[in-house]
Amino acid sequence: MADYKLLGKNYQLPDLYAKVTGRSKYAEDHRAEGMVFAKLLVSPMPHARVVSIDTSAAERLPGVEGILLPSDLPEEAEAPNESALTMEPKYEGEPILAVAAVTEQIAADAIELINIQFEPLPFVLDPLDSLKPGGPNGRLDGNTSLGRELGEIKWTEADMAGLSPGEIPMDGATAAEWAYGDLEAGFADADVIIEEHSYNQSTSHQPLESRTTMAYWEGGKLYIYPSVQSTARSVGPMARWAGIEPSNVVLINEFTGGGFGGKISGYVHAQIPILLSKNIGKPVMMRISRREENAIGRARPGVQARIKLGMRSDGKITALDIHCVGDQGPYGRSGDAMNVAGIGSLCYQPDAVRTRGTNVFTNTPPRGPQRGPGGVQSMTMLEPMIQRAAKQLGLDQVDVRRLNAPEGQAKFGAPGRDGEQGHVSSAFAKEAIDKGAELFNWTERKAISGRRNGSKVTGIGTCLSAYAAGASGVDGLFVIRPDGRMYIQSGIGNLGTGSTFDMMRAAAEGMDMPWEKCEVAWGNSALHLPWSCSQGGSSTTHAHTRANWAAVEDATRKMKAIAAQDLGGSADSYEVSGERVHRRGNRSQGLSFAQVAQRAVDLGGEFDGHELPEDINGMTTASATALAGQGLMGVAKDNYEEGGRRMSFAAGFAEVEVDIETGDIKVKDYAVGSDAGTIMHPKTYSAQLFGGAIQGFSVALSSKWVYDRRWGLLVAKRFYNNRPPGILDVPHEQPMKWGNADLPDPFNPLGAKGIGEAAQGAGSGAVVNAIADALDSLGDGFGDFYRSPVTRDMILTMLEQAPTGHDRLMAHV
C-alpha cells in the first residue's frame, strides 16, 4: 500500500460538532418566513379508484391555505411509474391529495373534513398469488413488465400440477431469462445437487430521518430543502418535478439521516410541497411521519425462488439454476430478482448459470434499490444451500468459498449482446476470505460448532458477499486561493457515510495540502458544486477519488506551467510538495501555493477557471465559471481507463447462539474481511462494514412486513413491530472485527473502491448460515429454513414438528 499522508488515516469529520451538539439542520429543522404545513390524505385500501372528492368543508376551515389534487399535477407518470398523487391508489398509504394550512393540526383537521369515496379494486399481496392460474393482478394493466411493455405472466394448471402450496414450477413462464455455460453438463458434473425453495422478505429502508421536504419559490427559483442522499444528482429530478431548468433550483441539504438507497436522487413526493408552495405563494413544509415513511419510503423487493445448485466433490460449484419471482410493489422496474443469479455468478463462478424470473406487481409499498439490491437476497438465499452441499460433501466451508471465489478480472453476470459476459476491474476475494477467517480464527473455532450449553446451541457461519463498488466519469473541482488555502467542492451528498468529506481528502493528498488548510463546500447547490455521481450504490469512493485525482493532475500541471513561466526552466523540472511548486529537489526555488494562486488570478485563462475543459459536465462548467478568478483552479473530468465493473467483496463470519427452548438467536460475534482496495478513512470504512452487517442481521433475524391477507393492509406499521435491529441487538460481549485485503484496485489512481453494499450480504449470509449450523447439530436438516427472517416461531415449530401457519414462500407473514 502506498505511503499516504492523509489517506488511510483517521480524522475528525468536519460535520461532527454540528451533529453531536444538535446544530446540524435536517430537512424539518428549516424554517422560512410565512411557512405553512402540508398533510397528506392517503389511501386506506390496497387498491382502489377514487370515485369522488368533496373538499368544500375543508376549504372553509380557517387556516387552510390550499389543497393539491391529482388533477393539479402537470402530468401523470407513464406506467408503470408513480405520480406524487393519484386517483387510483395501488397500496395502502399512497398519497391522494395534500392540504396546506397554517398549522399541522389545522391541515390534519381539514383532511378529516374531506368527503372521499372509493371503489375497491382487486389486490394482490403475494406475487405467487398473481402468477397462479386466474390469480389477481396488482395493476389494471398487467402483473409484470415484459420488456418495455406491461403485460401478464400466468402459470398454467399443468405447470402447477403436483406442486404443493408455496412451490414454483421450475419451467413455468417467466418475463426474463439469461444464461451462460452448459447447465446440463454442469449438473451432470455435480456430486451433490441441492434443490430448494427459498424466500427473502421485503424490508423497508427505515432511515431514521423520513423524507420530509420544505420548498418555496423566490425570484423564479425553487428553493428546496429535502432529505436526499445525493446533492448534485437530486437537482435534476427536483427541476423536472417543478417544471423548470436545473439552473433555477437551489437545493439545500447539508445533513441527511440515512437513506440506504431509498432517497438516492430525490423522490416523487417532493413534488407535493414544490407545487403547493408555488400555488399558494408561501413556503410549504411537508413533514413525513414514520407511518407515512413506511408507506412511501421504499423497500427492498422480496424474492421467492426455486433454486437448484450443483457441487462437485471437491467443492466446485458446477451449475446454478434459478427461477425467481420478485415482489415489485405497484410501480417501476426492479432488477433485484434477476440479480440474485448475477451476484451469485460473481461470488461462486459456477461453470453454468441459468436464471429465469418475473417481477410481479403487488399492492404493497413501492420498491427501490436497497443496499446491495439483489446481492443481499443472493447471499441470504444461496449461501445456506452452498453450506448444505458442502456439509454433505464433508468440506470446510471456508475452503469451499475460497475455491469458488473470483480472482483478477473475473467474469460474471448476464452475457451481453455479443454473448460475452462482463468482468470486474479487480477481485481480491480470496484475500478477503483469508483476512476474515484469520480475524475470526475460523480453523480453531470450527470446534465450537454445535456446542451445547444447557438449552443453548452454538453455530458458526461464513459467507462471501459482493456488490458494486464505484462509478466513473464525473468531475473534480477545487480552487487554491491566494490565502494559501484549498477550497474543495463536493457535490456528493452527506447522508452519514462521511464520503462527502473523505473523498475530498484525495484532492488534498494529491496536492500535498494539510487537511487543516482545506475547506469543503457541500450540501447546497448554490455553493457551486461539480457534477458528481449518485450518493448510492457505493459509487462515490471510486468515482470521486478518480475525479479529484484528475483535478489534482490538472492543478499540478497548471502550477508547474506558472512556475516555469515565472522562474524559468521546463514545467517538467518542477514538482509540487509542502504547499509549494518548486524545482525538483530544491524547495527554495519555487512559489508558495499562495503565490501561485495569485499568479493564476493574474494570468487568468485556464489557470483561474476562466477557460474550462470542454468535456466536463454543464453543471461543473456553471460552478467553475462562478468560482473563476478566485485562485488556481483544479478542474477535470475523470477520463481514467476503466478495467471493468468495480465490485468489492466482504467475507462475513458469525457466531450465533440459539436457545432451543425459546427460539432466541443471539449474534455473539462477527468478523469481516474485505476487498475494497485502498481505504480512505478507516473509521467510516469500518462503519460501513459494521453498519452493513447489522442491516444484514436485520434481514436474517427480524425485519419484516406483516399483512392482513383478507383486507390487504399492513399491520406491522411501527418501528417496533417492523423490528429493525437496534444497538442492543448487536454483538456486545466483544467488539465486531474487520480487516481488509489492502490490495489496490488497478483502475483507480489511488486504488480505491466502495464497500457499503457488499457489507450487508456478508452479515445476512453469515448469520443465516450460523443459525443453520447450530440447528444442524440437533439433527440432519434441522437448520434448513431457506426463509428469512429466521424467527423463533420457525425454530420452535420445527423442533416440535408442529404446523407453522404458512408455507415456506408465503410473503409478509
Binding site: 438449552s455 425459546t662 427460539g663 420452535l796
Partner: protein, 335 residues
C-alpha cells in the same frame, strides 16, 4: 369522511399538582378524561387520532405519586414511580429483585426513564389491528379482525380469548400477580384496595378495558406484601428484539422452598392472554414436590393444558411450556 393517522387533535390539558386535584378533575370529566402518566401508551393513540379524549389529566406534576417507601408489611410503590426508579430502588432490589429485573426488561432505557410502573401495568394491548384503529370488539365494534384464518396473529392469545384475542403486554404485571401485590385505587374521596389478579380484566368481563380502572378512578400505588420478600422468584421475558419490544411470552414464578420441596408457589405468565394468567393447575401439580428437573418438566406440561392457539401463534404453546419449565428448573437471573 377521510381518515388521517397523524397530528394530535385539539384537547384540553390539565396538569394538577396534587392527587386530590387530579381526582376532582377525573370526577368532573368522567369518561371524557384520559389519565396521562409517562405517555408511552398514550401518545401514539393520540397521534393516530384513534383515541380522542376531550380532556387529558397529566399526573407528571404530582410528586407524592412517585414515592417508593417501605411499609410495616412490605413496599408501597407510587403509581407514578418511573420504571428506572423501580429498577434502581435498593429496597426493591433487596426484597423483590425479580420486580426490578422485570421493570428493566420493559421497553428501552429511554422509555424506562419516562415510563411509569402504573403505566406499565395499566397499558392497553398492542394488538396491531386494534391499535391501528380497526373497529373491533375492543374498539366498540362487533368483530375480531385478529382471529380469522387470514388474519395475522403471531403475537396474540393462546389462552383466555373471549371474542377478543389480544394479549396483555406488561412485563411487571405477572411479577406483581406472583408477589400477591395489591392495587390502591381512589375515586373521589373513597379508596379501594384490590388484589393484582383482580386488577387485570379480561374481555369476558369488559372487552373495552384491560384493568379494573373505570372513568374517575386513579391508581395511587401498588403494595407488595412482605410474604414473598427474599423468596425465589424467577422472571424471564422472551421478545423478538432486545432494543424495544413487548413480550412474546413472559413468566414470573415465586417459590417458597422447605427442605428441597415446594412449600408454596405462584406461577404467572403474560403475553398469552388478555390478562396475566396465574397457572393454578401448575401450582397444584407441583406444590409439595421436589424442586428438580422432573418437577419442572411436569410444570411445563401442565401449563399448556387447554391452550387454543390461532393460525400463526402455535409456537407460543411450546414457548410457554419451556418458560414455565425454566422458571422452576433454573436459578433466577434477576440481574
Amino acid at each position: 369522511m377521510a381518515v388521517i393517522r397523524d397530528v394530535i387533535p385539539q384537547l384540553e390539558l390539565f396538569q394538577p399538582g396534587t392527587a386530590d386535584d387530579a381526582l376532582a378533575l377525573l370526577s368532573e370529566h368522567g369518561s371524557d378524561a384520559w389519565v396521562f402518566a409517562g405517555g408511552l401508551d398514550t401518545l401514539d393513540w393520540f397521534k393516530d387520532r384513534v383515541k380522542r379524549p376531550k380532556v387529558v389529566v397529566d399526573l407528571g406534576g404530582i410528586d407524592s405519586l412517585r414515592e417508593i417507601r417501605t411499609t410495616a408489611d412490605g413496599i408501597e410503590i407510587g403509581a407514578m414511580a418511573r420504571l428506572i426508579d423501580v429498577v434502581n430502588n435498593a429496597d426493591i432490589k433487596a426484597q423483590f429483585p425479580a420486580l426490578a429485573f422485570a421493570a428493566k426488561s420493559a421497553a428501552s432505557p429511554q422509555i424506562r426513564n419516562v415510563g411509569t410502573i402504573g403505566g406499565n401495568i395499566g397499558q392497553d394491548t398492542r394488538c396491531w389491528y386494534y391499535r391501528d384503529g380497526w373497529t373491533c370488539y375492543r374498539a366498540g365494534g362487533n368483530i375480531c379482525y385478529a382471529s380469522p384464518p387470514t388474519a395475522m396473529n403471531r403475537e396474540h392469545c393462546i389462552l383466555g380469548a373471549s371474542r377478543c384475542v389480544a394479549v396483555n403486554p406488561s412485563d411487571t404485571a405477572p411479577v406483581l400477580v406472583a408477589l400477591e401485590a395489591e392495587m390502591v385505587i381512589r375515586r373521589g374521596s373513597s379508596e379501594r384496595v384490590i388484589p393484582a389478579d383482580e386488577f387485570f380484566v379480561g374481555p369476558e368481563i369488559d372487552i373495552e378495558r384491560m384493568t379494573a380502572l373505570e372513568p374517575g378512578d386513579l391508581l395511587m400505588s401498588i403494595r407488595i406484601p412482605s410474604k414473598w420478600a427474599g423468596a425465589r422468584v424467577y422472571f424471564e421475558k422472551v421478545r423478538d428484539r432486545d432494543s424495544w419490544d413487548f413480550p412474546i411470552v413472559n413468566v414470573a414464578t415465586a417459590i417458597k422452598e422447605t427442605g428441597g420441596s415446594i412449600e408454596d408457589v405462584r406461577v404467572v405468565v403474560n403475553g398469552v392472554a388478555p390478562t396475566p394468567v396465574r397457572l393454578t393447575a401448575v401450582e397444584s401439580a407441583i406444590i409439595g414436590e421436589s424442586l428438580n428437573e422432573q418437577t419442572a418438566e411436569q410444570a411445563g406440561n401442565v401449563s399448556i393444558q387447554g391452550v387454543a392457539p390461532l393460525t400463526h401463534n402455535g409456537f407460543k404453546v411450546n414457548l410457554m411450556k419451556n418458560l414455565v419449565k425454566r422458571s422452576i428448573r433454573d436459578e433466577p437471573m434477576n440481574a
